[in-house]
């Protein structure tokens, strides 16, 4: 009985790939409830979980969850500059981002380094290097934003002199509407190349902000906006 029924469904859904069946591309807003597919409002963020001091032998460490996106950050240092690296009168920062079963775009590392150089007081450790290690345990959308928050918290936990703590957030634009803190499904549903062909516009904005100083330490766009 079971084998026949499974054959029946397979024949019904002929023409669809396995990935399409597992993750069907739903509209971003549920037409019945007027809310997003996971029951949130447009301007509502996912539940956030934050913990510091998770790795005792390191200088500073933190763990951040944005919904199902999980990031660990560990800060080590300051270490002596090796002779291979050029001399620098101020401190240096090295960032390394790892993820489970995949590769992180090199853009992420560069952006994180720029953001960290904006908030750490580099004059306090001349000729030394501060190592920031980030691990994305699960990427369910807006991983870069979670990385920013985790790094800011790990620096504060380690007692490293910073101008301010930093908070990251992501915004998704589908051509008509803005969505706060998008999930992986929502990001996949928005095909940027398709949007560009249809000349609708749409994209992702990631912002790193310094709340007490009212300043920005990172701003990055992906996609386009037509008006």
């Amino acid at each position: 009985m079971e084998t026949t029924s499974s054959n029946g469904t397979a024949s019904k859904l002929k023409g669809f790939s396995r990935a399409d069946l597992l993750n069907p591309k739903l509209p971003l807003i549920n037409t019945e409830t007027g809310k997003r597919q996971d029951g949130r409002d447009i301007n509502e963020v996912r539940p956030v979980f934050v913990q510091t001091g998770i790795k005792e032998e390191s200088r500073g460490s933190s763990y951040v969850e944005y919904g199902r996106t999980k990031v660990i950050c560990v800060v080590q240092g300051p270490r002596d500059l090796s002779k291979k690296i050029d001399f620098s009168p101020t401190g240096l920062i090295s960032v390394d981002i790892q993820t489970v079963g995949g590769k992180v775009p090199e853009r992420f590392t560069t952006l994180m380094k720029d953001a960290l150089e904006a908030i750490v007081i580099l004059d306090k450790f001349p000729k030394a290097i501060l190592e920031v290690h980030l691990t994305i345990l699960e990427d369910s959308g807006s991983a870069l934003a979670a990385c920013i928050t985790a790094a800011g918290l790990a620096l504060a936990d380690g007692g490293i002199p910073v101008f301010d703590i930093m908070i990251g957030s992501t915004l998704l634009f589908d051509g008509k509407q803005y969505y706060f803190d998008p999930t992986r499904k929502e990001l996949d549903a928005l095909d940027l190349t398709e949007q560009e062909i249809n000349d609708v516009g749409g994209g992702i904005i990631t912002l790193g902000c310094m709340p007490s100083r009212d300043q920005t330490c990172l701003l990055t766009f992906e996609g386009s906006k037509h008006q």
Binding site: R79, D80, K124, A156, P161, F163, D164, S212
Partner: protein, 250 residues
């Protein structure tokens, strides 16, 4: 409080606001509308305008006090645009120095070792690893009383050994390999920190004799092994040696 507003200078937003010196537009907290207010000259404030009292728990980026020549940011705080901000998570510590008319606002944290790295002017403890005719190479292990996570490289040049009779000073007769020395960082070189021992309290703090015993200073240029009685010349730091404390006459 808002009595300085005059009706003549009050401009509408559409006409374009002229920036006049000495005044700024501040959103009034009670009414919620922007009002023209005279900018206070923060460099002349003599009363400690503390926004966070002694012992308050603060986060990085939090405003602590006004900064000018009478108020300075200490450890764990920084100054920006005549305001002292907190740089680390911790508790506010206000120290007053009435003789110099100075108040230092710093943030301190219990439990964890403070973040410290050698900078110009800091006293460091280091171990001599190599010596040549011109310089002694050292590894910095401590800055003041805090142990570093990683050792850093430093050098002491022949000219920086002593300030008295400095041409006669030699590396070979001042430091030995393996000696623990106290030094002050005087410069950030290209590869290594440049250090100096040209103060009375700086120099060799602890040395081991070839026989393997800790040597005792007998004057400020000589040290002696307590067992083999062999004498070597060193630039000895004028600090209280632990042997003297033990052999104090009762």
């Amino acid at each position: 409080m808002n009595s300085s507003i005059s009706t003549e200078n009050k401009s509408v937003a559409g006409e374009g606001i002229k920036e006049d010196e000495g005044y700024e537009w501040v959103i009034d907290e009670e009414e919620g509308v922007p009002k023209r207010k005279k900018i206070e000259d923060r460099t002349k404030v003599r009363v400690l305008n503390v926004q966070a009292n002694d012992g308050t728990f603060v986060m990085p980026g939090q405003k602590l006090a006004v900064a000018n020549e009478y108020f300075e940011a200490g450890e764990g705080a920084y100054e920006f645009a005549n305001v002292i901000y907190a740089a680390i998570v911790g508790k506010v510590c206000i120290e007053k120095f009435p003789e110099q008319e100075l108040t230092v606002v710093s943030v301190k944290r219990k439990g964890k070792a403070p973040f410290i790295s050698p900078t110009i002017g800091s006293i460091v403890t280091c171990t001599v690893v190599n010596r040549t005719y011109g310089l002694a190479r050292c590894l910095i292990t401590h800055v003041e009383d805090v142990e570093l996570d990683d050792t850093m490289r430093g050098i002491i040049r022949r000219e920086y050994i002593t300030d008295k009779n400095r041409d006669a000073a030699e590396i070979q007769s001042s430091f030995g390999v393996g000696d623990i020395i106290l030094a002050r960082v005087v410069g950030i070189g290209e590869g290594d920190f440049i250090m100096s021992t040209s103060e009375d309290a700086l120099g060799v703090a602890s040395a081991t004799s070839p026989a393997g015993y800790q040597m005792i200073p007998i004057d400020w240029t000589t040290m002696e092994c307590p067992v083999s009685k062999a004498r070597v010349s060193r630039k000895v730091a004028k600090i209280v040696q632990p042997q003297i404390l033990k052999s104090e006459p009762s």
